[in-house]
Symmetry: C2
Subunit: 126 residues, 2 copies
Amino acid sequence: MFQIDPLSRIPIYEQIAEQTEKLILLGLLLPGDPMPSVRSLSVELGTNPNTIQKAYSELDSRGTICSVPGKGCFISKDAKAVLEKRAKQRLGQLYTLCESLKLAGVTMEEMTDTVRQVFGKGDGNT
Amino acid sequence: MFQIDPLSRIPIYEQIAEQTEKLILLGLLLPGDPMPSVRSLSVELGTNPNTIQKAYSELDSRGTICSVPGKGCFISKDAKAVLEKRAKQRLGQLYTLCESLKLAGVTMEEMTDTVRQVFGKGDGNT
DNA sequence: CAACTGTACTAACCGTAATAGTACAGTTAC
DNA sequence: GTAACTGTACTATTACGGTTAGTACAGTTG
């Protein structure tokens, strides 16, 4: 379910959180779906239960999942809406990155071309 | 010359390196210009000389500055070219970010608009 | 009651950033 | 040559965050 790279500079708990939210956006995890239990996922990934709990508590505080003591953790009802709303705010990151690239001589065309490639409209030759 | 945030998650030595390269791209630091000495900058920024040295050795290995024992550190002759070349490779970062935003429902138009804003062509009303 | 769930807590280990202090070699100007 | 600067190297120490380890407690389910 998750692919963890223990050697990455990105903390394991953050990798889990990111991948969970990606699965939600892809529609592979739907509202109400149960997350693996803290202990079972720790066994599956070969990590410590505390690390999983940290990922889950992070996701819970973001509103992505709902932790229910005694029952489990479940995908939040409005998880997708929450994630899409956050993405709009992340346009600021895009602005900052482009600003930096512009300063280093990358042209507007190179950037817009990159955006188009993401949307499968790379060069217009098709 | 530099504005350091000791509370930032970004290491001090990296902040110095980043800001140095930004000053070069802005044309405020020209090839041959001397960098502040390790000791004087450490006093100015209130940091440890070792931290400055780490920033300088990082910049030296990137080809941004040239460290000359006994004389000082100077902006590399082709510093700007090096930085511009690196920027082209950083288009991959842009691609990854846009990919993530796309997944979260951000439209291509929202992204290209952001790019245009960076180049001062925000809404076409002017 | 038994087996599961999330949660809380302390202790320990490790890597990295940063500080502190010392030392050495090259350059420059007097 | 000496003094004052320059970069460089090295060890030791502190601090913090990520991770592991182990234990414990409360709620849920069958």
